[in-house]
Amino acid sequence: MSQIIFWNVNKKDLTSFVCAIATSTNADVIVLNENSVSSIETLKALQKTVSTDFYCPSASSEKRFHCFCRTHKLDMSEVHSGSRTSVRKFQIGHNKALLALVHGVDIRNYDPETRQSFAQSLADEMRFVKEQQRTNKLILLGDFNMNPYDRGMNLAAGLNAMMTKSCVERGSRRHIDTDYDFYYNPMWSLFGDNTYGPAGTVYDTSNQGPYGWSMLDQVVINYSIVNFFNNVIILTEAGTQSLMNQKGHPDSEKASDHFPILVSFCE
């Protein structure tokens, strides 16, 4: 089993929480978005308090994503960098897959149309990467700044990400003479209060968050490797420390305004 943590740490120094999560989950890969601490400092802390096995996989750019890996067998070296993406090799058992780290344009400064346009640009970029790397075994993980129900996430020419595994069984759908690969978005299963864990990864009741909870942090998986997907959960604790406030929302004063997510894949 390979486990990956993704967390938007909201430009804060949450190194102690990161180390606590790494210890309690035994995650193989930790990806931090908007980390105000240098990757060298975070790496030193992980090596000192969690495991000396941690290292930073090679990447030409570390501006947006700080990536820490505990084992070389997963690879995680960068094969493509875009302005808001970093695509890594990701070895799942004997399968050579790709893991694209994504940070979508933010909700406060970009309207829904611009974010939909970003999703379509992202989809174009991912098609290019799949073609260059000659594989369609692609996983996207990150803070998309969109919900699973936003148009950019499910338009055919966008990310084409569907609600259930059975929705993506047929592989692709055709739209204006072009076939688009389906992606499975397991985050749908975590919405609301009738499921285990919090109802989303971000809580906001301003104009940017009309539903209260949003699921901005997501993982979407190409139909070709859905069988390797095991589970995704939203984390509310870092070891013994809670990441929630008294209302059960992300405690943005103590930690981040996003909860981390933990994704696992079978080998």
Partner: protein
Amino acid sequence: MSNFWPKGIQLNDTQSPREILKAAQEDWRLSSNGVMELVLQDANSKSGNSMIIVHAKHVASNRTTTLFSVIYRPNHPYPATIQPKDEDLPNFLKKTYYEPGLGGFAGLNATLLGTQGKKVSNQWVSDTPPEFRQNLADAFNLGIIKSEILNLASFATESSNSTNEESPEDSEETS
């Protein structure tokens, strides 16, 4: 004697942005001795216009980075504009940057003095092939683009030095 022929237009030079980018591809191949390649990807812009996304590729490692996009109207190659990659650098790493004025009373003062408004021009729009060539050359010489190319090349070299030869990628079909 008057000359009403528009300046900058030569009827023997009607290369489209795509043709000029193809020539740039050949320049890159020759100048880098085949180490680096330009890869052109067709797409549509958010406004439905034609877009060519320009990527750099380190051939030996098959690693890529997105450089910028060229946008024009369908079937109308000019005007064309180059959209450089966001220069996501802190100010101390930029050669030039805009320092916004002070807010509050100083901002009010700026309004009274009539110094608040400023003309915004887009240096990347080209109306003719020579202008597009010049802008394309300028785009390739932007600090951020040079940095990306060097990062890609040096990172790929470091990786190949520090790791054993990798087995060839699975050549499975993309479906």
